[in-house]
């Protein structure tokens, strides 16, 4: 009988601001990867993005469809990016323009990350703001690459990740 497990591979809580974070040498011993983040930027942005790149690959190998809200749901839009050089995780970060000490939260699931064909990625993100309902983002992506994922890089939409921003990388397998 299958015995699913989710194992913490690595985590990082920033003690100083940083322009990006990279998880390197990711073991190829799991089936899927899951990333949780709690992020704030040092800049003045309100709702903002986080940029995801894999295997240090800046090529046009990422395509996404996304549905996201702004102004607390006053507007909801859906768009797509084809052959982009990164995955734009909309509403996965926020700056000082939102509630003090508030952090955007985000969860990204990377399926079959050791595959030698394209990988599917799904992300849910939301900002945090006391002023009105928070802004969410649903992003469905594909990464076209023939190698397993060994490196994950996350960068804020602007400025730097603020102190206390946290990142957790988990590996998932069935036994």
């Amino acid at each position: 009988m299958a015995n699913p497990t989710m194992t913490l591979i690595a985590s990082q809580t920033l003690s100083t601001s940083a322009s990006s974070i990279t998880f390197s040498s990711i073991p190829q011993t799991y089936f899927d990867l899951r990333i949780f983040s709690s992020v704030r930027e040092t800049g003045t942005a309100q709702q903002d993005s986080m940029f995801l790149t894999l295997n240090s690959d800046g090529g046009s190998n990422y395509s996404s469809t996304n549905m996201n809200s702004a102004a607390g749901g006053a507007t909801v839009t859906s768009t797509h990016q084809t052959n982009a050089t990164f995955v734009n995780l909309i509403n996965a970060s926020q700056g000082t323009g939102y509630t003090a000490n508030g952090f955007a939260i985000c969860e990204t699931y990377i399926g079959n990350y050791t595959s030698t064909s394209a990988k599917g990625i799904f992300t849910f993100a939301t900002t945090f703001n006391n002023a009105y309902p928070n802004n969410g983002g649903l992003i469905a992506s594909v990464y076209r690459n023939s190698s397993g994922i060994t490196t994950i890089n996350l960068a804020p939409g602007a400025s730097s990740f603020a102190t206390y921003s946290s990142f957790y990388l988990y590996g998932i397998k069935n036994s």
């Binding site: 322009s19 990279t22 390197s24 990711i26 839009t77 990388l169």
Partner: protein
């Protein structure tokens, strides 16, 4: 005004002796290193692209809102709609 060098944090995920395993590229569980010029340029390009995407989304939304408002006004006034205005209606 500060003029700090942008840095990144690298976290080694391998389960090994970071300091002594030749396979460990950073020789530690995590290190803080300055961004290269290429990395800074890539971050700036990504930020510019994301802003352009966001601006495009806002422009599309504003155009749709304007069409809906125009369609509503014409319906109330009993005037014919354009094809684009009719497309904004949900039946």
């Amino acid at each position: 005004m500060t003029d700090e060098t942008p840095t990144k944090i690298i976290v080694c995920c391998a389960d090994h002796d970071h300091a002594n395993d030749p396979a460990c590229e950073i020789k530690a569980e995590s290190v803080i290193v300055p961004l290269t010029a290429d990395e800074i340029a890539a971050n700036e390009a990504a930020a510019a692209q994301a802003k352009a995407d966001a601006d495009a989304r806002a422009k599309e939304q504003a155009a749709l809102d304007a069409l809906k408002a125009s369609a509503k006004a014409k319906l109330v006034a009993g005037q014919p709609l354009t094809s684009e205005e009719a497309d904004t209606l949900v039946i």
